[in-house]
Symmetry: none
Subunit: 413 residues, 2 copies
């Protein structure tokens, strides 16, 4: 029924198959509000986490009529990237459904990737006179320097297919190939060390031979084109991948899904799993407005709040607190749409003290008239894990939301 | 990359493969302190468990700056033997990575098992004049009587290979075969009932035919040698196995592992998973001295405390309390080495009231500057399960320790 992902020997889709079988339609509506990087740590300097410190009367009130818990997205101790963090929230096991780095990089800059495009993450590097790599990141050139070289690379023509090149940031770019017969399943060019040249890519299956040949040809042309453009006079391609053809959420859950997100990466992932990505502005106010305007047209809304993660990455405690308080102020307006189930959680922790994503579980509140109420009275790291949902995998959120909206039939007689 | 264990149809090493891919090196150091059989039960006679009753100010203080939880080692309701209890603590799923009984028995007496040796657990039994078993444990003969018979069995010669026989205890002994072309994957001789003779062993795969033939020959010789030595005039061989070639911890985690343990069984298991087994004395003081002396040379230290389990098996409440209090007194000295992560837990419960291993989960404290602090203020069965790590599988401890020492990269972009 579902597509089998490539490059894997065994793939069992039992969970999603089961879910699909149990699913029934009704008129219920649900909202998944993802506060990016919401989880944090208490430290000596900040004995309260941003979430504990922030004034969140509305989120706290929500917990009183709700079930609480904490979630992990990949496994204990594993720090999720944005891709796996979100596929887990959308009900997929990120170890089974992997989105390639090339695809994620393309989605991250808002590139309109088509289902059969092959995308690669590109890194500029420095080559010596013998063609050996001396710096895998080309001295971390500026985005401006990057753009000069991308302009040159855009000129490369390949036989019978299109090749798009776009700047990402610093020494990173994206290459996308579009045309007939392209497949992923090829090795990378990056030897992961200096003193040797970029490697030719090899097909990992017979179908990928054409793609491998084209990429090797493109690499040769790129080397010529970048000649003399030190320090970024060479490049490597990694994570060569295409849309992983993940089973689409509307098919699995028989619902109309809408994504309200301001950043390209999250809009892109939502599109990959089959959501309609709604046009919206750059503020949370815009996002809530979009929610209300589209309320009648969808059954499920994914709303993404980015700035908590950004402030976490910056080590900005007050900034993170202010975004949390802003989200809190919008909770009554979100509830005014009268959803049958509202889940508020995150895609991973981004502790201010670590300035990066981390493996620490993320608090979750599941609000619904059918939710079993527990004793949690506050939306925070330290209170939610004591809730009646305990510690669980993020991929269980979708089944829980479906159940609370009475969209699952009984399993067995 | 890793060896596939035999006698299993499907083996997926995804977890360990994934861990291996995420692993990065740094200078952090970690300690896993295993208090054998630490978990216990409260009863009418002892309303506090030994851990609750013992004065443990240092362990309690540790919990305040730490994440707490409780672990199970195989599955809910499954009582782990020492082998599975420890492989789980070392990050392996004991249902995937099994160590045969013959190998465990050999390790338990400190036999220096080589990677290609085949080891069997031997039980003396009583045979009647027709060669049928009348008592599968030979009237539970004394260790002294056992030794007399082992002396006789040591004389048995096999063509082209060596056969070692060693007393274990009471009616139990170990047989180890050493030489070219030996494989495990043979059936056992023990029919598990009386009134029938020991069975010939059969190879379960073509490679094991030579081993099966040699064991059948050895059994014939043993029967002759033991003739007239009633009540132990026969024997059975069980758990015929070799080093399971478990993926080695230093390869998976890219660290230097040291084991500090006084009992042969734990030293042997540590060796099987690739740890360096350090010479040490018989007391906890000796073990801590060994830790400090070797601090610079390793990244990971497994310290094993045995006596809690022994007192549990003896039903000795006060004895178990006294060992726990002794461990507690050494916590400051352990912390004085300045580890980046310290985990204190056990390999299973050994309730005093049951005088045996049990299935009850074991409390755990994970101390690290990167740990999320919870409300647990005491190291005990009743407090730790309320911690922020919740209830989890012991095999997750290694990923958690790696994460807290910043030795894992992010999964996905």
């Amino acid at each position: 029924m579902f597509f089998l992902a490539k490059n894997k020997t065994t793939k069992i889709f039992m969970d999603i198959d089961l879910i699909s079988k149990l699913t029934e339609k009704n008129d219920s509506k649900m909202i998944l509000l993802v506060i990016d990087g919401i989880g944090d740590l208490s430290t000596k300097e900040n004995p309260l986490t941003p979430l504990e410190y922030a004034k969140t009367p509305n989120l706290d009130k929500l917990t009183e009529d709700a079930s609480c818990g904490q979630i992990y997205h990949v496994g204990h101790g594993i720090t999720p990237g944005s891709g796996p963090g979100h596929t887990a929230l959308f009900g997929y096991d990120p170890l089974k459904y992997e989105i390639g780095r090339g695809v994620l990089e393309a989605l991250g800059i808002g590139f309109n990737l088509l289902p059969n495009d092959v995308a690669a993450r590109g890194n500029f590097c420095t080559l010596d006179e013998n063609g050996n790599i001396t710096d895998r990141r080309a001295g971390r050139i500026s985005t401006e320097e990057n753009e000069k070289r991308v302009k040159v690379l855009k000129e490369i023509k390949l036989p019978s297919i299109e090749a798009f090149v776009e700047t990402v940031k610093d020494y990173r770019f994206v290459l996308v190939l579009r045309g007939e017969g392209l497949e992923d399943g090829v090795t990378e060019t990056d030897p992961q060390k200096t003193g040797v040249p970029p490697m030719e890519v090899r097909p990992l299956n017979p179908n990928a031979k054409k793609t491998a040949d084209l990429i090797n040809l493109w690499m040769k042309e790129a080397k010529n084109a970048l000649k003399g453009m030190e320090p970024a006079n060479g490049c490597n391609l990694r994570g060569i991948s295409k849309d992983p053809k993940i089973p689409k959420m509307p098919e699995i859950y028989k619902m109309r899904f809408a994504a309200i997100a301001t950043y390209p990466m999250y809009r892109g992932i939502a599109k990959l799993v089959g959501m309609d990505v709604l046009e919206t502005g750059s503020t949370l106010e815009d996002e809530i407005k979009t929610l209300k305007e589209n309320w009648e047209n969808y059954d499920f809304f994914f709303i993404h709040v980015k700035k908590t993660d950004s402030y976490g990455e910056d080590g900005n405690f007050e900034g993170k607190v202010s975004v949390i308080e802003e989200v809190d102020r919008y909770i009554p307006e979100i509830l005014s749409t009268k959803p049958d189930c509202l889940v508020v959680t995150g895609d991973h922790s981004t502790p201010v003290s670590m300035k990066s994503h981390s493996w620490h579980p993320v608090p979750l509140v599941l609000w619904s008239k059918n939710a079993r109420k527990d004793d949690v009275k506050e939306f925070s790291e330290k209170s939610c894990y004591k809730g009646c949902l305990g510690t669980f995998h993020a991929k269980e959120i979708m089944p829980l939301m479906m159940a609370h909206c009475m969209r699952f039939t009984k399993f067995g007689a």
